[in-house]
């Protein structure tokens, strides 16, 4: 089978399963976020923690809850990492250095999972299971909760149609956007946990390992000895993909045969990465009662995903340079069992969601193929974005696109009955600045201080433009909370651990604060009733076109000069 046909078959299979999941999973999520009933386990939990599940929060309270919850998780994880040597099941590994512990704790709490360390040599089972895996669940649940809050703000209807107390549509009078504790509990207990159990079993069946065997020493055929680490991999792999976390059990991540053994587990993992972000538009459609709104998001995500996947695959297959041409394609750094097509598909999915997983060495991609990975992150992770974070990031772009379309038509900018006014636009204007400013600011500070620059450059795997791309990739990945690495860069230094940690923290919580403020602003509004003649055409194909163009036009201006210095200088510059 030719590469083109293989790619088409892969994408078609993926599209079919995602399409099959779209309606049931989207509607199930909507049900989770709007149901009035609490399960018995949830009630026990609320009572134990001392939370009133019927209380509704306005956005500042919701934000405070997000921050308090994440800060507590951060402190706990930091403590675990710093006291690893005292914990049982640590395989005799020592405690982490403060800077590495900070970086690791931040990146797992922020759903980024930037791993500055080699997991199998750094963290034992206790930390993996009680620390990292727990935060993989909770950080994804927080993202889902924030997305639910924004959708609830858009769906908020007048007091007369008030649904069940806590989670039903927010009331416009009070501007409440739900209850964070309920959202995060339900996301974990009703969505992520049960799904992970099923997924783990499927992965086990597919050949992913699950044991507590520690290290096994074997004698290889050649007569040498090799130490092979084992561990509870399948159980962590499930949430790593499903929650778009990406924190692998092994350093090689999804390229490791124990994590991702076969081409079909590879396709399954891509599906897991995409499934929640792709189904969230349906959740939006169901919660606001207008499926067209969901479909517009879905098509936009699909168009951007297709754009990145096709160009990346073409660049990789074309493979500039002597070695790739001899090999027939740029196969360096890619697993033979996945091939180009399976690798680029995974790479497109991982860079388009906030999943930092990888099944190939991103640094070994052709210059232009690697640029597509960077670009996918620079677009703000909307194709289709992280579980939860993708939905709110693309809704921010929708707000801008609706405003522009309305202006062009001389009509009032109204989205789903909610007026887009000065405050809303101020908020989204801030939102689109945050990620690029963090990435470029962190990059400029790090490369602007001479000793730091020398240290960073000494740690890059390559010199020149490719080396710069390695550094650039790290900062963008941190600021956008992706967590994947370009490889090559020695990231485990006090400076990089600290700056990237701070970027991850700001890149996570500043946008969340803005999104929650936006949710509150929408929730306060009484929706406008529109008729067929006055409704803005925000569900037509041309609006999808506008949205795709806008995502590119917002990302390009800030990043294009840097792409010129990195991948483009490498790819066409010489």
């Amino acid at each position: 089978m030719g590469d083109g046909a293989l790619a088409a078959a892969n994408v078609a299979a993926l599209a079919v399963v995602l399409a099959a999941a779209y309606r049931p999973l989207g509607d199930y999520l909507a049900h989770v976020f709007t149901s009035a009933r609490h399960t018995r386990a949830e009630k026990v939990l609320y009572r134990a923690v001392g939370v009133d599940p019927e209380g509704r929060q306005p956005w500042p309270a919701y934000l405070r809850a997000v921050l308090a919850f994440s800060l507590a998780g951060l402190a706990l994880l930091y403590l675990l990492l710093r006291t690893q040597h005292l914990l049982p099941g640590s395989l005799g590994l020592p405690a982490l250095r403060p800077d590495l512990a900070f970086n690791t704790a931040v990146s797992f709490v922020a759903n980024t999972n930037w791993q500055a360390y080699s997991p199998e040599q750094t963290v034992g089972y206790a930390v993996q299971a009680a620390g990292l895996a727990v935060q993989s669940f909770l950080s994804a649940a927080v993202s889902l909760a924030v997305a639910a809050a924004l959708i609830r703000g858009l769906a908020a209807r007048g007091a007369s149609t008030t649904g069940p107390a806590t989670t039903g549509p927010a009331t416009t009078g009070t501007g409440t956007i739900g209850n964070f504790w309920v959202d995060v509990t339900r996301s974990t207990l009703r969505v992520l946990l049960p799904a992970s159990v099923v997924v783990a079993v499927v992965l086990l069946a597919g050949g992913v390992v699950q044991n507590v065997a520690g290290f096994t020493d074997v004698t290889t055929i050649a007569g040498g000895t090799q130490t092979i680490p084992g561990g509870p991999v399948a159980s962590q792999e499930a949430i790593k993909m499903l929650g778009t976390n990406g924190g692998g059990f092994f350093n090689a991540n999804s390229a490791h045969p124990f994590e991702n053994p076969t081409p079909w587990t590879n396709l399954f993992q891509v599906f897991l990465l995409l499934v929640i972000p792709v189904c969230l538009p349906r959740t939006l459609g169901t919660m606001v009662g207008d499926q067209r709104a969901g479909r517009v998001l879905l098509w936009t995500m699909a168009a951007l995903f297709g754009l990145v996947y096709v160009s990346m695959t073409v660049f990789e297959l074309a493979g500039a340079g002597t070695v790739p041409q001899l090999a027939g394609a740029a196969l360096e750094g890619k697993e033979q069992r996945f091939g180009i097509v399976g690798s680029t598909l995974f790479a497109t999915a991982t860079s388009g969601t906030t999943g930092g997983a990888a099944n190939s060495m991103h640094g070994s991609y052709t210059a232009l193929g690697g640029m597509m990975l960077l670009l996918n992150m620079m677009m703000g992770e909307v194709a289709p974005g992280g579980a939860g974070s993708g939905a709110y990031a693309i809704l921010v772009m929708v707000v801008i696109a609706v405003f522009l379309a309305a202006l062009l038509l001389g009509r009032a900018p109204v989205y789903l009955g909610k007026r887009i006014g000065v405050r809303e636009l101020q908020l989204v204007s801030v939102f689109i600045l945050i990620m690029p400013t963090l990435a470029l600011g962190g990059l400029a500070v790090s490369l602007g201080i001479t000793p730091v620059r020398a240290q960073i450059l000494a740690g890059t795997g390559n010199t020149g433009a490719h080396g710069l791309t390695e550094v650039m990739y790290a900062f963008v990945s941190a600021a956008v909370n992706n967590g994947s690495a370009f490889a090559g860069l020695s990231a485990n230094t006090p400076w990089l651990n600290t700056t990237l940690g701070i970027l991850i923290l700001l890149g996570r919580f500043l946008p969340i604060a803005v999104v929650l403020a936006l949710a509150g602003s929408f929730a306060r509004q009484e929706p406008t009733t529109t008729t067929a003649t006055t409704e803005l055409p925000v569900h037509r194909p041309q609006f999808v076109g506008l949205l795709v163009a806008l995502v590119l036009f917002v990302a390009l201006p800030m990043f294009l000069p840097y792409l010129m210095l990195g991948p483009l200088a490498e790819g066409v510059g010489r």
Binding site: L407, S429, V430, L433, A444, L468, M472, Q542, F553, Y562
Partner: protein, 692 residues
């Protein structure tokens, strides 16, 4: 023109410029580039950037074009302000005024009726509070005031919407007269309390001049987005050299400044105010005064319009629609008597009676004006008619007045006739009409009631078309009237109005507006009466006619000078057009920027990475020329867009989806082609200079 150029120069003063932060940023860039170029000239350094040498004059040229960008932007604004100013001044001169008869040295004790005092004719605009004026039959009341002498019947329908004339007399509770109303009979002396023309024209001039220009909500929202775009380029300029440091030589300071100046949305920042001023200018031309930019833009968002029945939907003054004979009288006799009673009657009732007689082809051909001694309508008698030379007296008036007149003449009507008359008038009144009873008394003969003329509100011709236009704009109309709901429904149906509110009181009007707003509608309301003021204030856009009471005008944020209530169509269209123009400019600019990236970015480091020239898709001749051509294009594009900003984007009503596609094609795709062609052409010229 000189003034415009000088004004533009004055705007470059940083103390003035900071009000437009985007342009302030251009100014800062220009200043930075100039200082750098100066330093370079003094030290004799050769300009280099990104590892490539630049022509010696380059940094100076870049600085100069940045200054020119700033100046051109300010010229555009000054130009628009100049036009607005000229228009407003013309308007002030031509503002609709009436002639007032002012009493010089009024003496309330000895000459209360002001019959001996000197009376001078002045324009109503010259009246000041405290002036005393004489208003006689047929005059328009020149200003709001208090009656100090006399009694008169006044047609206040233009202001209050009530079609029945009201009585105003001195000393009583009913002593207030309102500017713009008309005296139907008698003569009064009034003291002016509030001049008719208020300060709105001056407000408008100030608005047009931009000194106190408020920003409309969408403009503020757009401004947030523009600020975000601008800041993003500042971030790029601040971080670029540090990030480039491992692989490339730094980009020179003036080129970084040029990057910011060329890429930030300075055109929109310059032209936003131009579109705002142009919108008001267009409204002025349609004789509409807007008191705030916000009102103009909100006008574009209107989804529901509450209109007064009287004046907007119907003529307001009642018109004869039917002759109803009583008793033995034939229709022919009734029409003849009615025509006689109206032949010298200048009131709308009289004239419409004649018109109706013409259409019924029962018009007697032997009756002409001046056939006898006309008895004009007076507030005392509430009758009008004629005394013919042969002694015949014909009268028409309210039922009670006519019956009283007959009784006084000794011809009390038999009970049967009275009952029959009452039956007829009740039917008419119940249907929302006004009955006018006609009676005649031949010389020496017995006076008798001949019949009844039915007076009704008539829907204005063209009104239905206007409401249809509003419907196509996506605006729902609601008619407000004091009539009973049945009559209201009938008139609403006839005029093609979507909804109606009968038996309206100030409270119900206010409540209706609140209900509409709660449903998310943007409500406009036209109103004239003092009792409309709360509703006008509550509405998102309150539209008052210039003849409205002072209270109504104060509460409204749009005043229609020529008293045409259907101006709403123009107001809404112009509001939407202003928004659409801003949208077009923004889309055009965002698309423009894409071309500029590909003109500017590849050449930044082409000295270090020569291969990047492959991305120079426009094949610009050199890095220096690319930067300079892009800067020059910024000036060109402002000049090219000024007409668009002034004229505005045509506002189309049909399918919104098609409109969106078309506008995206024109301003999005056009926004890609136009700069590509322009920058290439400019580059061809620039490359003629040695070194570029």
């Amino acid at each position: 023109m000189t003034r415009v150029l000088l004004d533009a120069l004055r705007k470059c003063d940083p103390r003035v410029q900071w009000r437009n932060p985007v342009l302030m940023l251009v100014e800062a860039c220009a200043l930075l580039a100039t200082v750098y170029a100066l330093w370079e000239t003094v030290t004799g350094a050769t300009p280099t950037s990104g590892g490539a040498a630049l022509p010696g004059s380059f940094h100076w040229a870049a600085a100069a074009w940045m200054w020119l960008t700033l100046y051109t932007a300010n010229v555009a604004e000054a130009l628009a302000e100049g036009r607005g100013r000229a228009q407003a001044a013309g308007l002030r001169a031509a503002q609709a005024t009436t002639t007032a008869h002012r009493v010089r040295r009024y003496d309330p004790l000895r000459d209360a009726a002001a019959r001996e005092a000197t009376i001078e004719a002045v324009s109503s605009a010259e009246l000041r509070p405290g002036d005393v004026v004489v208003i006689a039959e047929g005059d328009t009341v020149p200003a709001d005031g208090q009656v100090v002498w006399g009694i008169a019947s006044i047609d206040e329908s233009a202001v209050t919407g009530e079609s029945a004339p009201v009585i105003r007399e001195s000393g009583a509770k009913r002593a207030t007269v309102t500017g713009g109303t008309r005296v139907l009979s008698d003569r009064v002396v009034c003291r002016v309390t509030m001049p008719l023309g208020d300060t709105r024209v001056d407000q408008m001039i100030a608005l047009a001049e931009g000194a106190r220009r408020q920003k409309a909500p969408n403009e503020l929202a757009l401004f947030a987005l523009l600020a975000s775009f601008s800041l993003s380029f500042v971030v790029v300029a601040l971080t670029l050299n540090a990030v480039a440091s491992p692989v490339a030589a730094p980009v020179s300071l003036p080129i970084l400044a040029a990057l910011v100046a060329a890429l930030i949305p300075s055109e929109i920042a310059a032209l936003l105010s131009v579109t705002g001023i142009a919108g008001m200018y267009r409204l002025l031309r349609s004789n509409v005064l807007v008191t705030s930019a916000k009102a103009l833009e909100t006008a574009g968002d209107i989804t529901t319009v509450l209109v007064d029945k009287t004046g907007t939907v119907t003529w307001g003054n009642r018109r004869a629609t039917r002759f109803v004979p009583v008793g033995e009288t034939t229709r022919h006799e009734l029409v003849r008597a009615a025509v006689l009673a109206s032949i010298d009657d200048p009131t709308p009732e009289g004239r419409s009676t004649l018109a109706l007689a013409h259409t019924t082809s029962l018009m007697p051909d032997d009756v002409a004006a001046g056939a006898g001694r006309a008895i004009p309508f007076s507030a005392h008698t509430r009758l009008s008619g004629i005394d013919l030379p042969d002694g015949t007296q014909v009268r028409k008036g309210a039922e009670s007045a006519v019956l009283a007149w007959l009784k006084r003449a000794g011809d009390q009507q038999p009970r049967g006739v009275v009952e029959q008359v009452r039956a007829r008038t009740t039917v008419i009144a119940r249907a929302g009409g006004t009955p006018l009873v006609v009676a005649a008394k031949p010389a020496g003969g017995r006076g008798e009631v001949l019949g009844v003329i039915e007076l009704k509100d008539v829907v204005k011709e063209g009104a239905a078309d206007r409401f249809e236009t509003l419907r196509r704009l996506g605006v729902r109309t609601v008619m407000i009237t004091g009539d009973n709901p049945l009559t209201a429904a009938a008139i609403a149906a006839e005029a093609g109005i979507d909804d109606h509110l009968g038996d309206a009181s100030p409270e119900t009007k206010l409540a209706r507006i609140r209900t509409e707003q709660a449903a998310g509608h943007f409500v406009a309301m036209t109103g004239d009466g003092t009792n409309d003021a709360p509703a006008l204030a509550q509405a998102d856009v309150g539209v008052a006619m210039s003849s409205a009471t002072a209270a109504a005008r104060e509460s409204a944020n749009i005043v229609v000078l020529d008293d045409d209530p259907t101006k709403l169509v123009e107001i809404i269209t112009i509001g939407r057009r202003s928004m659409a123009t801003r949208g077009a400019l923004t889309t055009f600019n965002i698309a423009n920027d894409l071309v500029r990236y590909f003109a500017l970015f590849p050449v930044l480091f082409v000295g270090t990475f020569p291969g990047l020239d492959a991305l120079n898709v426009l094949r610009l001749s050199s890095p220096a020329s690319a930067v300079l051509s892009t800067l020059i294009f910024s000036v060109v594009v402002i000049v090219a867009l000024v007409p668009l900003a002034l004229v505005g984007v045509p506002y189309r009503t049909p399918d919104l989806g098609t409109s969106l596609s078309r506008n995206l094609l024109y301003f999005g795709v056009g926004g890609l082609l136009f700069p590509a062609v322009c920058i290439k052409l400019i580059d061809l010229v620039v490359s003629l200079f040695p070194g570029y």
